[in-house]
């Protein structure tokens, strides 16, 4: 299954990955190979087989009690933030 430049540009936009001009053909090539490779799955006999979302079957989600278990650690957590002002994470203007 071959991908083209437009496909790569679309995917990169969806995934918010800026690619240089030089990178684009490289990804077109490698992703095309990957999809040619995974195309093998088509011939697997999966009629009537359920998709397996979790490797251990039959387990159910645990329900946690409704308790507040946290205190304010803003100062610690914001040490890694590239840009913070008045406790807010700053980004270029969000236009609605």
């Amino acid at each position: 299954m071959s991908l083209n430049r437009a496909d790569i540009e679309n995917i990169a936009r969806l995934a918010r990955l800026e690619l240089t001009e030089a990178e684009i053909p490289v990804y077109v090539d490698s992703l095309s190979r990957i999809f040619a490779f995974v195309g093998e799955l088509d011939r697997a006999p999966t009629t009537g087989i359920a998709p397996m979302a979790h490797p251990l079957p039959g387990l159910a989600q645990r329900l946690r009690p409704d308790e507040v278990a946290e205190t304010d650690h803003r100062e610690l957590y914001q040490r890694n933030a590239p840009r913070v002002e008045a406790g807010l994470y700053v980004v270029p203007k969000v236009i609605e």
């Binding site: 995917i11 995974v38 799955l41 999966t46 251990l56």
Partner: protein, 489 residues
């Protein structure tokens, strides 16, 4: 290069040595730190060495021992793969994206091993975001195989495997999503264990593919793995996929007889892709196990050859979503002077991620996208069901499965970088266990052209004790696991 002498061969010996006061934890830690420093230019196994903190922890461990507190592992040094969050310490995941990220918390695995008294030497190099089979995708440079430094150690836990193989750390934590513990263990001639999915908490283990990732160990021996697996395992309320079932004492059954053990040789693993000499080493190992009392028979898992394509749909899909949080807003790399929101995201991510990571994010984004979800993602999850069913059937006929870990011994750095598929096929024997959530091990079983070969064991869910037992009995009869590359002896 001559390193200062390694204090002991195994963690088991260190445990005895510390208990017998033959040395202190501070002496041990200092000795390993010296070896780490000496080996670093050659191997590049570490990203961060936490020397001062290690010595302080070692001193506290010595105090605890003197006061009669602590347990057998108190004061034993080890190192953590840089995928585990370590509080107050740089946690990079081998990526430029997190090159400056100091984690504000400890992964459950790290906390568990610390509570057991171990001393952290530092953070180990790895393929970027655990994506790779050769440790060549790390932002911090490739790791080299101590057996031949022109060759790869395997990946993604290349640093863990190289460190243990060179005896610059007695043991290392690692993670395995498609073979990233077992394959590097095989290529470096050391022992690796990937537990059952849900056995070890994933809280604090930076996510690559959530339904496949599992934390585990790379050690010198199965006995060492048995000693360290306990404190790493168990139910964690902070991980919804963590299984609430009791953790056995893995050391208690290590020396059990193998009489009555049925081992299945997976027919599909002994295919044309397997290097002939590697195959020969595996067969020799099988003979050893048979002499120990195990019975061997052939089994077939006919859908296994589809594991690699299945994996390369499911894992990228999950990672494309898991890595969306890296956007330059709350942590991690942020581009200079973003012009607008889209620019902030696209440039920060474009700059912060390496090529393989971008490749997998794009693959994953595509297979989840409208119009392709059914044909790719759902299809792959159905094939996953088929593969799991194959294993379940096989375990109806035998207790453990056996095969090679890697199709070839370690290849040269730079050899497989052109075609991603060639690189992906390194995991052809290991991926199946991840898809089915099964535990797996690799143990050294000989050499080909001076390079180590690994034997793979796969067990049913929660059969770690059985696997460790079989591996230990094998290691009682052989000494492959005790070999050290001459340059690091």
């Amino acid at each position: 290069m001559s390193l200062p002498a390694a204090p002991a061969a195994t963690v088991a010996e260190l445990v005895r040595g510390l208990a017998a006061k033959r040395y202190s934890s501070v002496e041990l830690t200092r000795a390993y730190l010296d070896r780490v420093a000496a080996a670093q230019p050659e191997l590049n196994a570490f990203i961060t060495v936490t020397g001062e903190a290690a010595l302080a922890a070692a001193a506290r461990a010595d105090e605890a021992r003197a006061a009669g507190r602590g347990g057998p592992l108190t004061g034993v040094p080890l190192a953590h793969k840089d995928i585990f969050c370590t509080e107050g310490v740089l946690t990079t995941c081998g990526s430029k994206m997190l090159a400056n990220f100091v984690s504000p918390y400890d992964a459950t695995v790290v906390a568990g091993l610390r509570q057991a008294g171990t001393v952290m030497l530092g953070k180990l190099n790895m393929d970027e975001f655990a994506m790779g089979s050769s440790n060549e995708t790390s932002y911090f440079g490739p790791v080299r195989n101590p057996w031949d430094t022109a060759r790869v150690p395997g990946g993604s836990s290349g640093g863990s495997a190289a460190a243990v193989a060179a005896r610059i750390a007695p043991a290392a934590t690692a993670t395995d999503t498609g073979g990233s513990i077992r394959q590097p263990a095989a290529l470096c001639g050391v022992t690796g264990i990937k537990p059952t999915y849900g056995r070890v908490s994933r809280y604090g283990m930076i996510a690559f593919a959530s339904s496949l990732d599992q934390g585990g160990l790379i050690t010198v021996s199965a006995e060492d793995a048995a000693l360290l697996l306990g404190p790493m395992s168990g139910f964690d309320p902070r991980d919804s996929t963590s299984v609430d079932s009791p953790v056995p004492d893995y050391t208690a059954t290590l020396a059990d007889s193998l009489d009555g053990l049925t081992i299945g040789l997976v027919k599909e693993f002994f295919d044309d892709g397997l290097d002939v000499e590697c195959g020969a080493r595996i067969r020799e190992a099988i003979a050893v196990l048979e002499k120990q009392g195990a019975r061997v028979r052939e089994v077939s898992c006919p859908n296994l050859p589809l594991s690699v394509p299945t994996y390369y749909v499911v894992a990228p899909a999950e990672c494309s979503s898991n890595l969306a949080r890296f956007d330059g807003v709350r942590f991690g790399h942020r581009c200079e002077s973003p012009k607008n929101l889209t620019d902030l995201y696209s440039r920060s991510r474009g700059e912060g991620f390496g090529a393989e990571v971008k490749r997998r994010i794009m693959t994953g984004t595509y297979v989840l996208s409208a119009g392709y979800y059914d044909a790719y993602y759902l299809k792959a999850q159905r094939v996953r069901q088929l593969i799991s069913a194959d294993f379940a059937r096989a375990f109806g006929e035998c207790d453990l499965l056996l095969g090679p870990t890697s199709p070839t011994p370690a290849f040269r750095i730079g050899d497989k970088c052109d075609d991603p598929i060639t690189m992906y096929l390194n995991d052809i024997y290991t991926i199946g266990a991840n898809l089915a959530g099964l535990p797996g091990m690799s143990l050294p079983c000989g050499f080909v052209g001076g390079l180590p070969v690994g034997l793979q064991l796969i067990g049913p869910h929660f059969s770690e004790a059985r696997m460790l037992n079989a591996a230990h009995r094998y290691q009682m009869e052989t000494d492959w696991h005790l070999r050290v590359p001459a340059a690091f002896a």
